[in-house]
């Protein structure tokens, strides 16, 4: 890839929440980049910091309670250091965001059309009539059949899928370079999920935007992502192109994530789950391999003292060296089926 294709580069990002006067990093030293036309998926268990990472990018966290350190470079400017006013020139125009819950993400007292029009007012020079026209065009573009009517409706009059389409219309209204979608389909039923994802891909093909897609659904990842970053306890523990990651997962955590996908074909109906839970923010191990406590059968020597991301093949990075010494039996699910190499 040419470097000119790079849209966003995140370097050593730390996002901490203040809890009793101490900041605890929910995103801990994350580095990532996003290219034009790329779909970068971020996966990981609940609470590992995916949403925090996403909202840090456009500075939507409460400044009084969070601390952002590091660089978020967009067009050679560091978003992490921008004021609210400066960020407002980027939000919605260059980078927009799609949120998880379409039922609560729209203002219940405002007409759909007005909610879409809002970003056009501040980011474009369109006249009022042109804006109205653009709103209808956008609604049409996201697959809403009767835009005139929907524009005059209130959110509660629309279904969840329709509302998510509206939210996408808002996100793409100024043709952003980057779209961050935080679990855009989690709240929707399966058939609608597929429609929404198709819509996102279609829109991307038109504009060439880069998409950061946060999801729990590894099936979706396999289908539409170009690259995948796996997060655990605030850190990225593995990044790779999608085929590479699925055919050759290295980190024990990545492997156990794959093992925990329910397999319809298997006789075994037991759901394979990763034992334990992500430690809470205040109890995160801050030293060594963070996953080590959940794979206690792996001897301590196997882990690095200060695990870093190693490039093991072009574009494939893994944190820690513990993966080298052990691997999972691939034929049986379950994280405890492990044996020494």
């Amino acid at each position: 890839m040419k470097t000119t294709d790079e849209l966003l580069r995140i370097k050593n990002l730390h996002t901490g929440f203040r809890i009793k006067d101490t900041y605890f990093d929910a995103v801990d030293n994350v580095s990532l980049s996003l290219r034009k036309n790329e779909i970068l998926a971020i996966v990981g268990e609940s609470g590992c910091g995916k949403s925090t990472l996403a909202t840090s990018i456009i500075g939507l966290l409460d400044r009084n309670k969070t601390r952002i350190q590091g660089e978020i470079l967009y067009k050679n400017k560091n978003l992490a250091e921008m004021t609210e006013e400066e960020l407002n020139d980027v939000r919605g125009l260059d980078i927009s965001m799609i949120f998880q819950d379409p039922l609560s993400a729209l203002n219940p007292l405002m007409r759909i059309g007005d909610q879409i029009e809002e970003s056009l007012i501040y980011h474009t020079k369109l006249t009022k009539e042109q804006r109205k026209e653009r709103v209808l065009e956008l609604l049409n573009q996201v697959g809403i059949n009767n835009p005139e009517r929907v524009a005059r409706q209130f959110p509660h009059q629309l279904s969840g899928g329709m509302r998510q389409r509206v939210i996408i219309a808002i996100a793409i209204s100024c043709k952003p370079q980057i779209i961050i979608a935080d679990e855009p389909t989690t709240a929707l039923d399966v058939t609608i999920q597929a429609q929404i994802l198709d819509l996102l891909i279609d829109l991307q093909n038109e504009t060439g935007a880069g998409i950061i897609l946060i999801t729990h659904d590894l099936g979706v990842v396999a289908e539409i992502a170009d690259r995948v970053a796996v997060m655990y306890a605030g850190e990225i523990i593995e990044v790779a192109p999608v085929e590479e990651l699925f055919s050759n997962p290295k980190h024990p955590y990545t492997r156990s994530l794959f093992n925990s996908i329910p397999q319809m074909s298997q006789e075994n109906t037991r759901l394979n789950v990763i034992e334990g839970i992500v430690p809470s923010l205040t109890n995160l191990p801050r030293e060594g391999c963070r996953f080590s406590s959940r794979i206690s059968w792996i001897p301590e020597e196997a882990h690095e003292d200060n695990p870093t991301l190693h490039e093991i093949s072009p574009g494939h990075f893994v944190r820690c060296t513990c993966w080298k010494h052990f691997h999972f039996k691939s034929d049986i699910g379950g994280s405890h089926h492990v044996y020494a190499d």
């Binding site: 939507l60 919605g92 729209l106 219940p108 007292l109």
Partner: protein, 320 residues
């Protein structure tokens, strides 16, 4: 919209029925009757009995009830025994006074509380917020009669800025500009007392609504559009936070229409609250029952008004 209103009005009918039944039963339980007070050692018991019979007080209770409701519907509320006047006229006169007082109180209350609540919520944890919260706690802690007396003493007796009693000075021609002005002049002290004491609830409610709204999903969506923060506040946060306050307006107004016994008594203001307390003290039953009925009706009207306001401001409530 109209369907909502019609539906709500229809619901009020059984509510009013139950209310009237309750008021009637309570009146039956009250000791004595209109003629008890007329008994003196010289009166002939047969004469009293005759009057009772004539007034229908010996009829079965349901006949009396039907007659009472029938009169009520026709606006025939009976006669006050202490004032020797029709209860309707009596209440009507006091009600106009109370209406003016309520109106000014509500206007003052909301024009103090809404800006303060908005400021406290918008800049929460700032010095401004802390002083507003302090003010609202103080105004909450002060009993009505203390503040009323304080205002009366300070602005009435000491500074002599405002009159200390009544609703209008004698000697002015009703309907003239001077007369109207004098009425407002008399209202200012009691209305301010009302307003200052009522602000706490509205300020605290609005403040916490706004603070909560800041972290709502749709506010985050609005922020992600890159619109200026003041627009996020005015179009998304304030509007939505004012909603419950608007709904509360209905209750506040009718609550005030009942008149405040304490304030009207302290300021010697001839309103419904004062009438009510005097009626109780002098056992003026026909006035008491009429007023209780009226208060109940006002409470129902308040919730109707709140629902109507709500259906105007909140699109989710309108019935398609």
């Amino acid at each position: 919209m109209w369907k909502t209103v019609v539906r709500r009005v229809v619901i009020m009918i059984p509510q009013l029925f139950v209310l009237s039944l309750l008021v009637f039963i309570l009146a039956q339980f009250m000791p004595g009757d209109p003629y008890s007070g007329a008994i003196t050692p010289e009166t002939d018991p047969a004469r009293i009995e005759e009057l009772r019979e004539k007034a229908g007080l010996n009829d079965p209770w349901y006949e009396q009830y039907v007659r009472w409701v029938g009169n009520l519907v026709q606006g025939e509320l009976g006669k006050s025994y202490t004032f020797q006047r029709s209860v309707g006229d009596l209440i009507g006169e006091k009600a106009t006074n109370t209406l003016w007082l309520s109106l000014l109180s509500v206007i003052l209350l909301y024009s103090i509380a809404i800006p303060l609540g908005i400021l406290a919520g918008r800049y929460n944890n700032s010095k401004l917020d802390k002083s507003i919260v302090l003010y609202s706690f103080i105004s909450y802690a002060i009993p009505t009669f203390v503040l009323g007396l304080l205002f009366l003493y300070l602005f009435g007796y000491t500074l002599r800025w405002f009159p200390t009693v009544g609703s209008v000075s004698v000697g002015l021609d009703p309907g003239t500009l001077a007369w109207y002005w004098d009425k407002i002049y008399h209202l200012i002290l009691p209305a301010s007392t009302f307003a200052v004491l009522g602000t706490t609830g509205v300020i605290q409610y609005l403040r916490s609504e706004i603070i909560d709204a800041k972290s709502l999903d749709y506010v985050r969506t609005a922020r992600s559009k890159g619109i200026p923060m003041r627009k996020v506040y005015s179009k998304h946060i304030f509007r939505n936070s004012l909603l419950p306050i608007a709904a509360f307006l209905g209750f506040t107004i009718t609550g005030l229409l009942g008149g405040s016994i304490i304030i009207e008594t302290i300021f010697g203001y001839p309103g419904m609250g004062q009438l009510f307390i005097n009626a109780i003290l002098s056992r003026d039953y026909s006035v008491i029952t009429a007023l209780v009925m009226l208060y109940g009706f006002l409470a129902l009207l308040g919730s109707l008004l709140s629902d109507i306001i709500m259906s105007i401001v909140d699109p989710r409530i309108r019935i398609e």
